[in-house]
């Protein structure tokens, strides 16, 4: 498991990771979510000791009393943590097998592991090909193979589905679920909630380097989503008079917000369908649709991170 305690990283006074604390537990897939630029990759590099934290720490194997240690102190780290941070961080002139052979040797692992993980990643046929000819999807598979080399109890993967075709995406999903089912702690980052909805058991959401949510995936919508009631009336003009114009302010005072979603439908949140029906009846509006709608996971995530999106369309997008 990974224990992250008050992890903070500043670059020239700017906080990229801000007092982040959470635990990545064994046996589950922990989805690490946030918009681009939220600090996910920096957090992962801090966990691997590739950068030094300004404050706080990340321990591998549990908290300090349980014998957890910072990654930089591990003597054979590939046996404890498998990581895929950057599928391009290798030399294209080597063959896939060559790349995995030096990695295996660096941690005293037998060289046959190279061929075993290549087979596991579906790259057995490409073992002797130079990496520079690999597609992004093949590089991701090679990165996963490298992460599995030491059969580690902890896996850290940064946006592993990037560049994968649908078959590759399904392969990653199944693999992550299997690895967690074997009792490993799996931390996988993504900027897409829809992807995590299908993979993760537990969600850690960050925005601007700060923790926004740390909760099981099931029930996430109930806690962070907002139920809405979709309403349509036989006479759209009457419904418009009921919800539109000055009525908006009156309703807002009661904590009810309304918005027109398309030509004649309205979405009402902050109140129950019974009260809406009563209100409509009171004003002689005949409704033919009252539907309670739940946010999708994606919408809950968007709302949660709306204030913390680093790069928006129109501003410099460098992620």
């Amino acid at each position: 498991m990974i224990e992250i305690q008050g992890l903070t990283k500043e670059y020239a006074g700017k906080r990229v990771v801000d007092d982040l604390s959470f635990t990545v537990r064994p046996g589950v897939v922990t989805g690490f979510l946030g918009p681009n630029g939220a600090g996910k990759s920096t957090t992962m590099r801090l966990v691997l000791g590739l950068e030094r934290p300004t404050a706080g720490r990340a321990l591998i194997g549990g908290d300090a009393p349980a014998g957890g240690r910072p990654y930089a102190e591990l003597t054979q780290p590939l046996r404890q943590v498998g990581a895929l941070l950057d599928a391009h961080a290798l030399h294209g002139g080597r063959t896939a097998r060559g790349h995995l052979r030096w990695l295996a040797a660096s941690n005293g692992l037998p060289e046959r592991r190279a061929d075993e993980v290549l087979a596991q990643a579906g790259l057995a046929d490409a073992a002797t090909r130079r990496i520079r000819g690999f597609s992004l999807g093949m590089r991701q598979r090679l990165g996963v193979a490298a992460a599995l080399l030491g059969d580690p109890p902890v896996l850290i993967l940064d946006e592993p589905v990037n560049g994968l075709d649908p078959e590759g995406i399904r392969w990653i999903r199944t693999l992550l679920r299997e690895l967690a089912a074997e009792g490993r702690a799996v931390l996988v980052s993504s900027h897409l909630m829809s992807e995590m909805a299908l993979t993760a058991d537990h969600l850690v959401v960050i925005g601007r380097g700060r923790l926004l949510a740390d909760a099981p995936a099931t029930g996430f919508i109930e806690r962070h989503g907002r139920p809405r009631v979709r309403v349509r009336a036989v006479d759209a003009t009457k419904l418009g008079a009921l919800f539109g114009g000055d009525a908006v302010h009156r309703l807002a005072a009661d904590g009810v917000s309304v918005s027109q979603v398309d030509g004649e439908a309205w979405e009402v949140s902050g109140t129950e369908p019974e009260r809406i029906a009563a209100l409509a009846a009171e004003h002689g509006v005949v409704l033919y649709e009252i539907a309670v709608q739940q946010d999708s996971l994606e919408e809950a995530f968007m709302r949660m991170t709306a204030d913390s999106v680093e790069y928006r369309a129109g501003s410099a997008a460098t992620a």
């Binding site: 590099r45 691997l48 000791g49 391009h88 030399h91 002139g93």
Partner: protein
């Protein structure tokens, strides 16, 4: 799983990994191979072409034997730079550091590999150069300075290679290291060496000083002895290696 995890085995594994990195990437093993061929090859070719006629080739056998090393040292400089420079430029250094988080062990393993490969190139190249020279140039090639000159021929490429590795680590960038080291060793130092005023300073550059140890004859222009020349190069190499270690310990593999 019962791994032996003492510091010695960490270094041994790191060195083995560096050896595999070296043998699995042509851009790493081609330069020393080239040096191995050029050093005796050019000496022999020039000896065969001019040995009988050009008198100054034979004036100082040290200069004649190591004529090929003037060219052979170029790939060795590149080798020292590429060994770590390629990792900086491909960001592979991040992968290397996650496999061997102990910066000192990773750097020490690279340094050891560089020195070992360059010593082999130095020993075999020097032996080949002496053999080629003896076979093609008439006259005495042995002399009282033979042992010192041969020892310098073995050590100089290793010192130069490790120097370049250290400077590249210090700079943390392949392109910057190429830009600084190659023109210095191949243009600045030989060209400025000929200018009387500049020569007094340039003779203390690592390549000039080390090459003086190769020669048999004394040069009145040089302010130090032959062995001292090799020591000057060794001092440069030690400084670069230590600077590199410091930079490596502080290095942060920032993202893209």
């Amino acid at each position: 799983m019962n791994p032996t995890t003492d510091a010695g085995s960490v270094f041994r594994h790191a060195l083995r990994a560096e050896r595999i990195k070296f043998t699995t990437l042509p851009s790493l093993w081609i330069p020393p191979l080239l040096a191995l061929l050029l050093t005796p090859g050019i000496t022999t070719a020039v000896g065969a072409a001019l040995g009988g006629t050009e008198p100054h080739l034979t004036d100082d056998p040290g200069a004649g034997v190591y004529y090929g090393l003037n060219f052979g040292q170029l790939p060795m400089v590149c080798f020292g730079i590429l060994l770590i420079g390629l990792e900086f430029n491909t960001r592979m250094i991040g992968t290397s550091l996650s496999a061997v988080p102990s910066r000192g062990h990773l750097y020490g393993a690279k340094l050891t590999l560089a020195a070992a490969a360059a010593l082999v190139v130095g020993a075999v190249g020097t032996a080949g150069a002496f053999a080629g020279y003896a076979a093609t140039v008439p006259g005495e090639w042995a002399g009282p300075a033979l042992v010192r000159s041969a020892a310098a021929g073995v050590l100089y490429p290793a010192l130069l290679t490790v120097f370049c590795l250290g400077v590249t680590t210090l700079l943390g960038n392949l392109t910057a290291a190429m830009g600084l080291l190659t023109p210095t060793v191949f243009l600045l130092s030989p060209l400025l060496g000929g200018i009387p005023g500049a020569g007094r300073v340039v003779q203390f550059l690592p390549d000039r000083a080390g090459q003086y140890a190769l020669h048999y004859a004394d040069d009145p222009q040089i302010a130090y002895g032959h062995w001292t020349g090799l020591l000057i190069t060794a001092a440069w190499t030690t400084a670069a290696a230590c600077g590199g270690l410091r930079a490596m310990r502080r290095y942060e593999a920032a993202g893209h």
